[in-house]
């Protein structure tokens, strides 16, 4: 898991201490830094300075169309975002609400697929793996448009099939309006996301294949059933992989933007439900060009992401299993 690689390196740094470098070590360091320079320059130009500038922007009333009229307003933007502008709070909680629905469904579906693809009892696994992966390759915009069609309340196949199979009246304006009913729309959006489980599936699968078979055999001799083995051995052993997926998914969901933008141009249809935080940020920054306020919203998102990541990393020691502890 990538983040812990960095921790190891940090430890090595510390172990080396602050002793003076010899001439040849200096030369080596200099050559190394030369190779790192593309990244270091890029880091300063595209991450560090913009982040600082972004914070400075947040203290201004600023529109790029009339940069001369930029006005220093202190923390007014922050006050507006945190206290006055209700939409910030609303769009943030919509994002969290959507995350609470889509993340568990998506992660468990991914794990479910990986477990199936790892089962010795499934015939022709490689073909299925490729086919389950394939939609991940379809550009997201195209995928969203296809789903938009198949979930159409009148002509979409999902409703037709539900009606044929269960007899529930699903088709039509009285039926299941996946994209127009505020209660259903997050589930519909979650379904779009299921087409992107390919990477997660492959990563989980590799994690599952890394679980030593001796452990299973030992557990089987002890009489542990399939479910017990899954939840007591398999899942705990691949928690590092789950953790990695979880962190990436949380950060990605915070920035959820594409589907609501492609389907209804960020209007929030239905009833504002899909005006997520990133959509609101886009509207403020690139439709109204309130870039000072936009920068404030961006910084807020950064702080939220930081807190969420910190929480996740903080809980990691209670549930993520590290084989490296034994090394």
């Amino acid at each position: 898991m990538s983040f812990f690689e960095g921790v190891e390196l940090l430890k090595k740094d510390k172990a080396r201490g602050k002793r003076k470098l010899t001439g040849s070590e200096k030369r080596e360091a200099r050559t190394g830094l030369a190779f790192l320079s593309p990244w270091m320059i890029g880091f300063v130009l595209f991450y560090l300075l913009p982040m600082i500038a972004s914070f400075v922007f947040s203290l201004y009333d600023f529109n790029p169309a009339v940069p001369d009229q930029a006005k220093f307003i202190g923390f007014e933007n922050w006050q507006r975002a945190l206290v006055i502008d209700e939409e910030v709070r609303l769009s943030f909680f919509r994002t969290i609400h959507f995350m609470a629905i889509s993340l568990p469904i998506t992660l468990s579906f991914t794990l479910f697929l990986a477990v199936l693809m790892n089962s010795e009892h499934v015939i022709g696994k490689n073909i299925y793996r490729t086919l389950f992966y394939m939609p991940t390759m379809i550009p997201l915009v195209a995928g969203v448009l296809v789903w938009n069609g198949v979930l159409n309340e009148q002509t979409g196949w999902v409703n037709v099939i539900i009606e044929k199979l269960t007899g529930i009246e699903a088709v039509g304006t009285e039926g299941l309006r996946w994209l127009a009913d505020p209660k259903l729309v997050y589930y519909a959006y979650t379904m779009f996301g299921l087409w992107g489980v390919g990477n997660g599936m492959i990563i989980f699968l590799a994690g599952l294949q890394g679980v030593p078979t001796e452990i299973y055999e030992a557990a089987q001799i002890d009489g542990a059933g399939w479910w017990r083995r899954l939840f007591r051995i398999t899942v705990p052993l691949i928690t590092p992989v789950i953790f990695y997926q979880l962190v990436l998914s949380v950060i990605a969901s915070l920035q959820y933007f594409l589907a609501p933008f492609v389907l209804n141009d960020g209007t929030g249809f239905p009833e504002g439900m899909t005006r997520f935080y990133m959509v609101y940020f886009y509207k403020q920054s690139f439709s109204f060009f309130n870039m000072g306020y936009g920068a404030t919203l961006a910084w807020l998102m950064f702080l939220v992401a930081l807190v969420l990541t910190a929480i996740l990393f903080g809980t990691a020691k209670y549930w993520v299993y590290y084989a490296s502890e034994e090394r």
Binding site: L33, F46, G124
Partner: protein, 350 residues
């Protein structure tokens, strides 16, 4: 007794195999339904989509040309209990005249009943022309070309710069390397919005907004995930190889070019594919930097604009979506092994 036990165990395993494989097939079927829907819908006529009770497959309402005029074909229940497909020749409230397309020489004959109660006959008729229409309306050659150039150039830049940086991280003792590495990893999970506005403003001042430059230039300064992946791979190349070359007097750059790069084919391919697909999918960047310049749009943004303009033409939208998916899917099928290995390295390897 023992024999029976073996047999029952075999039976159970066979049952498991059947059950689980069936389960996978069922899930796979549900999973791919939207794709079947997309393909089928892209081949329908506008007309079919608006008719309630039309078949689910691409079809056209049958018609028959009789003496130089087209007549609609209906399925007509006959007195003897059979149902025949007949062309409605002359409409009447209680009695209508029909022609049998299979036997037009017999001429029109009368049928008693209300023709409005009859159902039309549909025949399989895929509209391949939808693809041509979508291709022309969306200006696909332009979009594909833009996307291809964007994806290729940034892929080259990202792979090359990431390889350089990864070499630096994998081979040299540098004070503070851990901190730098952590910083690099943290950029992977940094929400892009937080750097966006000042970067946009600088590019605007440079006059680059509305061009490809803001999207291409940053790719040449290496990417966190790519660099991580390549570093993992370079770490696995035996150091004896570069040390031997060093003794022969090769410079670090020379070692990089003549030893590291040639031995890293699979890793470089994986990173290249990643970046290529990432760029092919990229939406937010082009949306912001190319707003108002439809000539420069990549497929994703062009497809969205098309969807906004033609949201009623479901068939054309499905056709356009399928066209934009074809190239990535083909490349994936050709290179899936390298690709999936790359995914594994970023996600699992320590």
């Amino acid at each position: 007794m023992a024999k029976n036990k073996v047999v029952s165990k075999n039976m159970r395993v066979a049952g498991m195999k059947l059950g689980l494989t069936g389960l996978v097939l069922a899930v796979l079927f549900l999973f791919l339904i939207p794709m079947f829907y997309g393909i089928v819908t892209s081949l329908k006529t506008d007309n079919q989509l608006s008719i309630i009770g039309a078949p689910w497959w691409p079809a056209a309402e049958g018609s028959f040309n009789y003496e130089g005029k087209d007549y609609d074909v209906y399925s007509v229940p006959m007195e003897d209990g059979t149902v025949r497909e007949l062309a409605l020749y002359k409409k009447g409230r209680k009695v209508s005249e029909f022609v049998d397309p299979k036997n037009p020489e017999a001429g029109p004959f009368e049928w008693e009943g209300a023709w409005r109660q009859l159902e039309r006959v549909w025949s399989f008729s895929p509209q391949w022309s939808n693809f041509k229409e979508a291709w022309d309306t969306v200006n696909f050659p332009r979009l594909l070309w833009n996307t291809l150039v964007y994806a290729s150039v940034t892929t080259f830049g990202a792979v090359f710069s990431s390889a350089l940086v990864a070499y630096g991280f994998s081979r040299f003792k540098i004070p503070g390397k851990g901190v730098l590495f952590m910083l690099m990893l943290s950029t992977v999970i940094l929400p892009s919005a937080v750097t966006l506005i000042p970067t946009y403003f600088v590019f605007l001042k440079l006059g680059w907004v509305g061009t490809w430059l803001p999207l291409i230039i940053p790719a040449f300064f290496s990417w966190g995930t790519n660099t991580f992946l390549l570093r993992q791979f370079f770490m696995s190349i035996p150091r004896e190889l570069d040390e031997a070359a060093m003794i022969d007097g090769a410079s670090p750059l020379r070692v990089f070019v003549s030893i590291i790069l040639p031995t890293s084919g699979p890793a470089l391919t994986a990173v290249g594919l990643f970046h290529f697909f990432w760029a092919w999918n990229d939406f937010f960047g082009p949306l912001i930097y190319l707003a108002g310049n439809p000539d420069k749009f990549p497929i994703t943004v062009g497809l969205t604009a098309f969807n906004n303009l033609y949201s009623q033409s479901t068939n054309l939208i499905q056709a356009a979506s399928l066209i934009s998916a074809v190239i990535p899917v083909i490349i994936f099928f050709l290179a899936q092994k390298q690709f999936m290995q790359g995914v594994v390295v970023t996600g699992v390897e320590k």
